[in-house]
Amino acid sequence: MEKFLLKNIENPDSASLEEYQRVGGYKSLNKALQLEPSDIIAQVKAAGLRGRGGAGFPTGMKWDFASRDVKFPKYLICNADEGEPGTFKDRPILEKNPHLLIEGMAISAHALKSDRGYIYLRGEYPYARVVLEKAIEEAYAKGYLGDNIAGKGSGFHLSVHQGAGAYICGEETALIESIEGWRGQPRIKPPFPVNVGAWGMPTVVNNVETLANIPLIVAIGAEKYSAIGNPECPGPKLFSVSCCVETPGVYELPMGITLKEIIYDHAGGVRGGRKLKAVIPGGISAPVLPPDGVDCPMDFVNLPKRGSMLGSGAVMVFDDTVCMVKVCWRAMSFFEHESCGKCTPCREGTGWMRNILKRIEGGFGRDNDIELLQDISLSIIGKTFCPLGDGAAGVVLGFIKNFSDEFRYHITNKKCMVSKDL
């Protein structure tokens, strides 16, 4: 497939405005500025773009809600928090193709009649910050940002807001709290950010990759765009593939490609020709799949049917040397660390589950520990402000469902099922 999101990134100058324009950059912005905002929103809707941040919400619909709100100013926020373990797909855009994001944001701002935007960048990406700030400066100098964009009268100002190491700030309402200068704790919804967001104003929060798709939609039109990949949720998609594969990395492929194709045709297969044991298809919060799950198309429609989700599109591949109890424990220790502490079931439950998983892993598991884990999980789901707790519970339930033998073996035999000789 021809690359669009990662176009030209092998070129060492790909991040410069000059190089971006040389390969056709900012043409879509010029085109979009001739269009009515409502026409752009209609195009994005017709294109069928769904948000790439994890939830897969239809972007056009989100924009429509925000633009129907009569309050001004409106804010446009790019979610570049990328905290989901296993995920590193936005990083190449941020570090190597920043003008694609800026162009996407300038078009989106025109469509939403927003004159102020922020890029919420995770604290762990210091280099991306340097690149983005330079690119923003270049875009101001060329008139692609500022009071009078490309001489067409509409204005849009953009700056980087750097987070400081809190996964929860990827959740959009916690992110807004954090931009306003508070502790990053989620707000109750509704009201949704499209109506009451940053500083109480209508706010659109979109993922980096979502915004980077906008110039393509404007360039080729909704019809051609919706023909890429799965028609139910079309477009190019970035997959970050890691753990036990020969060639880990970020791959731009059509939405709906199967996991098998990603692992074997693109990422070089399981390392050393070893046996595939499990795959997490969408970042650590997505429930794990057994090996026969690899025939599943990677999109927002098909993965839920298999009991998992596309999430951030981070494919984590495990071979037969990896202990599932240990992975589950490490995932839970992450959730415990990142729970913001606002909701009791999540704050306490993740800690309890981390302890139980640790003891099973260490050979001190008790007979009813699996039932206890299930019980705690079910006491978290649906009882928290934001989906972090649900995610943690879903992870445990997924591991238990697909690898209960391995958990039982650990408890009964007080040791790991994976031979140390592998």
Binding site: G123, E124, I179, G181, R183, V322, V327, R330, F334
Partner: protein, 151 residues
């Protein structure tokens, strides 16, 4: 520009000065590598925010430090991809080689070691940040070489 002025200037980017708080805390932390009470007070004065608010926010985010740190900060990831690729043994190795525990600082004050959740470099695990530089595909051999570059 002194820190007070620098923080004042940041608040221009936001409709409400409080928006500059995260950035301001980074500015206040830059020179010393951690936030002393004095540094927190400067932030609170520059943005005209209550001291309790400033401290409350500063203690929520893990990248703000509240006690003196080494001259360099090693942030080593041990999340799932890095764990599978050997990060745990690197933690043990650093303990043995430099006598530093996670969360601790070497005796000579050269560096502090902090364990991180995923830093977005899983394709080249195990990975770490030293100050603001990424280093990946770490092994016991190359981690020493890398660390020796930071005096």
């Amino acid at each position: 520009m002194d820190i007070f002025e620098e923080i004042r200037a940041l608040s221009e980017k936001y409709p409400d000065r409080r928006g500059a708080l995260l950035h301001a805390l980074y500015v206040a932390q830059k020179d010393a590598g951690w936030l002393s009470q004095e540094a927190l007070n400067t932030v609170s004065n520059a943005l005209n925010l209550p001291q309790a608010t400033v401290k409350g926010v500063a203690t929520f985010y893990s990248m703000y430090k509240h006690r003196p740190m080494g001259r360099h900060l090693i942030q080593l990831c041990t999340n799932v991809a890095c764990m599978i690729m050997g990060a745990e043994s690197l933690v043990d190795f650093l303990k043995g080689k430099y006598g530093v525990e996670p969360g601790g600082t070497t005796g000579d004050g050269r560096f502090s070691l902090v364990i991180m959740e995923c830093i977005g470099a899983c394709d080249r695990a195990p990975a770490m940040l030293v100050d603001t530089d990424f280093h990946s595909d770490l092994t016991e051999d190359n981690i020493v070489e890398i660390i020796e570059e930071y005096k």
